[in-house]
Every structure is written in structure tokens, then in C-alpha cells.
């Protein structure tokens, strides 16, 4: 029997039993949505449709409808791509890395974080698609046999690495998520009374029975998938960073990019999980499971990764001067003082300075400040990618090539649209899926449940 120290805060509050956990988690699935859900859903659908319209307009007329030009060939498209991929990193990190580290607090948040990952990666994958001049030729990035026989793709290209990385990451995350969902779908299936939902959850639960051997395999698969997903999380955002770092462009070409992008991805991902779960725990009445301690743990991850990102910013800034390379030095001077200084200032403020408030216990345990700070981080991380992409491109080697980037309504529309689509998916998820990992929560009830901990402490 595992022992848990008495000084650890309980992770499941209140007088919970196994059955009560089932009841609490299944309630949103079995009950009816309230009017706030419908209002939020309607807004999300409208925004999503507007985004889809902008995407179709882009595909119909050409990339020229964005604010890009010869100097700045990537801007909001790749900024949004990297931003969404970054957000998509927390889910797998929570489920994989924290599983390897045996962090029990992950069990209350991993399901939603993984759902967020999957939806965020879907949004991310959209951008490399629509940013192509000829999207109808997108399948050419796969090494497929063709009429030229030996015409293959270029395995030297970081964009091709991206193709492999993103598709691996998306599909493995999906499988990881779904394998965890199967037993929980079975729970809903066995409780369902309406024939339609009974049938739907029967199909979704793949005929899960929960016998001893199945659970052994389940645990082994979760562990090995976690072991595979952990380096995968590192590799995916490293490869995304290599889109920039392999180049020769000052401001892009720096060796710290891969680990720093990974830290930044975890940082922004946790911020987004925080934003979503602070709402979800309230709306779905999950305060006993997503406790203040959970919020505090996530805030600690945010402040640590935020500080790592801060070290990386300062390292880059310092080395750009130390290197003695004129272009590098100028690229960073220009970031801080050039025409996009406000983007750099926003990035520094939101990503490095503001999260430092989480060193104070009161702030990291307060729901309101956590929510506000998480929004700041989300904004800051978008600016980080904007700074890296646009400010590095708009001023580089030859002054005659310098230019500016101004977004058009299509740029803005597509970005907002992806946020809309993301929320449509997340809202649907919160209605039809068990938002907490039922089976995992039950397995820690006796070691980390409030009532059981008190019981242990007394004897």
C-alpha cells in the first residue's frame, strides 16, 4: 500500500465515494445544458462561421488577401500556427510527463487538457494548410508515388519535419486520449437510460468490460504511451522551432530555440488549461476535484516555465550583443526599439514580468488573479510568436528589403475564427464527454481524498 504524507493537501475535497465521483462527473453528460451554454455555443458558432468564411475567401482569391508582402512572407498565419501548437502542448504534457512523474494532481485535469490539446492541434494544423499558395496541392508534402516515379519530397526541409511531427503528435495524442476515455465511456454506457445515448456510448466504449487483465494492459499502455509521448512533446515544438532556427535569418537562427520553444509551449498550454478549467469547474460544479491546490500547482508550472522563457529571452538578447555579429545585434535592438517595440514590450510584460506575481502564495491561490494572469500569458505568448516571426523578417540583412506588415480583416477574421471553432469543439466536448478521468480519480480517492485522509490521520 502506498503511503501519502499527511502534509500533502487532499486532491479530492468533500465526503466523496466512488459512486459520488461517477455522479458528479456524469451529471453534465446526463443533464440538460443551461442557457449560458447555449449562449456561449451560439457566439462560438457565429465566430467560427465568420472564420470559415475568411478561410474560403482566402482560398478563393489567393494569399494576397492577407497583409503579407515580399518582405514579410509569414505573419499571422504562422504566428497562429505556433501559438495553437504551443497551447496544444499542455495536454500531452499533463497526461504523459506528469504520469511519468506520478503526479496525482494531473488526474483531475488531464482529460480536459488533452481535449484542449487535440482541438488546439487541429486549429494549428489548419494554418500550414491554408497558408500554402496552392492548398489543393497540399498532399504533395507526403512522400507519395507519382507519375514522375522518383520525385520525392525534400527530407532536409524543416517544414517536412513539421508534417511528420504534427501528424504524429496529433494522432498519438488522440489515441492516448481515447484509450483513457474508453473505460469512462463504459461507465456512462452502463448508466444510460435513453436508447440513443445507450447505443452511442456502447459504440464509443468499444465494449469495455474492465476485467483484471484489461486493466493491467490499460495501465501498461498508458505508461508506455506516456514514455513515448514525453519525448514527442519535446520533439514537436523543437521541430516547430527549427522552422526558424535552421534558417540564416538573424533573430531566427539561434540554438536555444528548441528547448525555449518547448518551455514556452508548456507555459502557454498551462495558461490555456487554467483559463478553460477555471470556467469549467464553476460551470460544471467540479470544485471538489479541481481544487485550489490544482490551480496552485498549475500556476507553479506557469511561473517556472515563464522564468525559463525569461532566461531564454535574456540569453538571446545578451548573446546577440556578445556575438559581435552586426545583424544579430541589430535584430534584437530593432525588436526592443524598432517599429514593433510595442509587440516586444507586450511579450516581455505578459510573459516574463506578470507571471512573476505567482511567486506570491496569495496570488497563485486566488481564482480571480489566476484567471486574469492566465489571459495575460495567452496574449503574451501570441506576441512572442509575432515578435519572432514578423520583427525578424521585416528588417534583415539589406535595408533595401525592409518593410512592414499590416494585418487585413481576413487575417483577423481567420484568427478569431479558429478561436471560435476551438470553443465550439470544447463546448461540445464538455456536454458529451466525461470531463474528468473517472477511473483515474477513483484510483487515488483512498490516498488523496479529503475524507480518507482525515480517517488515516486519526488512526
Amino acid at each position: 500500500m502506498q503511503k501519502e504524507s499527511a502534509i500533502r493537501e487532499p486532491l479530492i475535497l468533500g465526503d466523496k465515494t466512488y459512486h459520488q465521483i461517477t455522479e458528479d462527473v456524469c451529471a453534465p453528460v446526463e443533464g440538460k445544458a443551461n442557457k449560458y451554454w447555449y449562449m456561449a455555443f451560439s457566439v462560438a458558432v457565429i465566430v467560427a462561421l465568420w472564420g470559415v468564411g475568411c478561410i474560403l475567401y482566402t482560398i478563393g482569391r489567393g494569399i494576397g488577401v492577407w497583409g503579407l508582402n515580399t518582405t514579410v512572407d509569414w505573419a499571422w498565419d504562422i504566428t497562429n500556427f505556433v501559438w495553437w501548437v504551443g497551447i496544444g502542448h499542455a495536454g500531452t504534457l499533463i497526461s504523459a510527463v506528469l504520469l511519468l512523474f506520478r503526479q496525482k494532481w494531473r488526474m483531475a485535469i488531464n482529460r480536459s487538457a488533452e481535449a484542449m490539446t487535440i482541438f488546439a492541434v487541429m486549429m494549428a494544423a489548419l494554418f500550414p494548410g491554408i497558408h500554402m499558395g496552392r492548398i489543393w496541392m497540399a498532399y504533395w508534402v507526403f512522400p507519395l508515388p507519382n507519375q514522375f516515379g522518383s520525385l520525392w519530397v525534400n527530407f532536409n526541409s524543416p517544414l517536412l519535419w513539421d508534417v511528420f511531427a504534427i501528424s504524429t503528435y496529433f494522432s498519438v495524442s488522440l489515441v492516448f486520449w481515447y484509450i483513457g476515455l474508453i473505460p469512462d465511456f463504459a461507465t456512462i454506457r452502463d448508466r444510460a437510460v435513453k436508447p440513443v445515448s445507450k447505443m452511442a456510448y456502447s459504440v464509443l466504449s468499444f465494449g469495455w468490460t474492465g476485467n483484471a487483465k484489461a486493466w493491467i494492459r490499460f495501465e501498461e499502455v498508458s505508461l508506455v504511451l506516456a514514455g513515448l509521448a514525453t519525448p514527442l512533446v519535446f520533439s514537436v515544438h523543437s521541430i516547430v522551432s527549427m522552422d526558424f532556427a535552421t534558417s540564416v535569418i538573424p533573430g531566427w537562427h539561434t540554438t536555444i530555440f528548441p528547448p525555449y520553444f518547448v518551455a514556452g509551449a508548456i507555459f502557454s498550454g498551462f495558461a490555456m488549461v487554467q483559463t478553460l478549467l477555471l470556467i469549467a469547474r464553476k460551470v460544471l460544479s467540479l470544485e471538489s476535484y479541481i481544487t485550489v491546490k490544482h490551480i496552485e500547482y498549475m500556476n507553479i508550472v506557469i511561473v517556472i516555465t515563464g522564468s525559463i522563457v525569461g532566461v531564454a529571452y535574456l540569453s538571446e538578447l545578451f548573446i546577440s550583443w556578445y556575438s559581435g555579429v552586426e545583424y544579430e545585434g541589430y535584430a534584437f535592438m530593432n525588436r526592443a526599439t524598432g517599429p514593433y517595440w510595442w509587440a516586444y514590450a507586450s511579450m516581455m510584460t505578459c510573459n516574463v514580468i506578470i507571471p512573476q506575481l505567482f511567486w506570491f502564495k496569495g496570488i497563485r491561490r486566488s481564482l480571480i488573479t489566476s484567471f486574469i494572469l492566465s489571459i495575460f500569458v495567452n496574449v503574451g505568448m501570441w506576441f512572442e510568436r509575432f515578435v519572432i516571426i514578423v520583427t525578424s523578417l521585416h528588417r534583415d540583412f539589406l535595408p533595401s528589403n525592409w518593410g512592414m506588415f499590416h494585418p487585413t480583416f481576413v487575417d483577423v477574421g481567420i484568427f478569431l475564427g479558429t478561436i471560435g471553432i476551438f470553443f465550439v469543439l470544447f463546448l461540445l466536448y464538455s456536454r458529451f464527454f466525461p470531463v474528468l478521468a473517472l477511473n483515474e480519480l477513483k484510483s487515488i480517492l483512498k490516498s488523496s481524498g479529503d475524507n480518507y485522509k482525515k480517517l488515516h490521520h486519526n488512526d
Partner: protein, 174 residues
């Protein structure tokens, strides 16, 4: 004639102790159904640990070899091109650029290979009918399954009385 007798429990520790008591009386347990994994149960029931991890390693290793062979064929043998002066005469000279995809492909195949093996091995696939004996074994109850044919030497009443001695909430046949 029903095939099996079940004892239903409402606590995992009671169930594990029950299983130990049943096995001590030389009654064989066919299976146990629970809403979550119970640590140490495999030792009680004498179930061997799964070898899925070895599977994953083999899938991954195959993928690693395949990725390197594939890239070497595409880039070096089939149509060597001068791409930005990157060396294209030997695999090892251009290897750093091939590492990311090799890694991704290894993880891709290891993860999916293992997941598919897991689903087939468990026989959890879309459309399969659930075989758990009681709907609450996916909620908060734990069931021990005793197969009649496996315990031909023990009468039903004996089995039931042994089960009764382990504090179940319910005993039923199915």
C-alpha cells in the same frame, strides 16, 4: 444452467481480501471486474504482467529501420539532388537532417502499433458488446467471477457459502 457465479462488492479492499480468501479455499477465480485498476491485484490472482511494452519496442525499432532505409532510398539512391549544397552522397553525411523524421516515425509506429495491439488483445473495438456482469462494475462495484466448469469439483452451494463469507453486497448467477 448458468455458467458463472458472481460476488459483487462495494469496496476494493474488501474485494481483494475476498479474492485471497476464495483462492485460499482452492476455488479458482476466472476474472475480476472493477471500475478502475487495482494495484497488486495481479499478484493476488497470479496474472502475468503484459508484454505490450516489448511489442511497442519492436514496432518502434522496425519503424526506425524503415525510416532510415526510406530516406536513404528517396534522397540518396533514387533521385539524388543538389539541395542547397547539402551532401547527398552518403546517408551519414546528411544524417542530422534526417534525425527528426526518423524519431517522429519511430514514435508514430510504436504508439499506434501498440495501441492497435492493445485494442485487439483486449477485444475492445467499435461494435463489440460489453461483457461485464453488472452495470455497476463500471461505477463503484467490484465483481469476482467464478466459472462453474473451472471448479467442477466444488458444488454451487459450497462456492456460494465461501463467497458469502467474504462480505459481498450481492451474489448472483449469470
Amino acid at each position: 444452467m448458468t455458467k458463472a457465479i458472481y460476488a459483487l462488492y462495494d469496496d476494493d479492499e474488501v474485494m481483494v481480501n475476498g479474492a485471497k480468501a476464495i483462492l485460499a479455499k482452492n476455488v479458482r477465480i476466472k476474472d475480476v471486474y472493477s471500475p478502475f485498476p487495482i494495484h497488486g491485484l495481479e499478484n493476488v490472482l497470479g496474472i502475468k504482467w503484459t508484454r505490450l511494452a516489448i511489442n511497442a519496442f519492436l514496432y518502434g525499432f522496425t519503424a526506425l529501420a524503415l525510416a532510415l532505409a526510406g530516406m536513404s532510398f528517396f534522397m540518396i539512391q533514387d533521385w539524388p539532388m543538389n539541395i542547397g549544397g547539402k551532401p547527398n552522397f552518403d546517408l551519414y553525411q546528411n544524417l542530422p537532417a534526417f534525425i527528426p523524421i526518423t524519431f517522429e516515425f519511430t514514435v508514430l509506429c510504436a504508439a499506434h502499433g501498440m495501441a492497435i495491439t492493445y485494442l485487439i488483445r483486449n477485444w475492445t473495438l467499435p461494435g463489440v458488446k460489453a461483457r461485464n456482469p453488472h452495470p455497476r462494475t463500471t461505477d463503484d462495484h467490484f465483481a469476482i467471477e467464478i466459472d462453474r466448469t473451472e471448479n467442477a469439483g466444488v458444488s454451487d452451494d459450497e462456492i456460494k457459502s465461501i463467497l458469502q463469507g467474504t462480505n459481498p453486497v450481492e451474489i448472483f448467477e449469470k
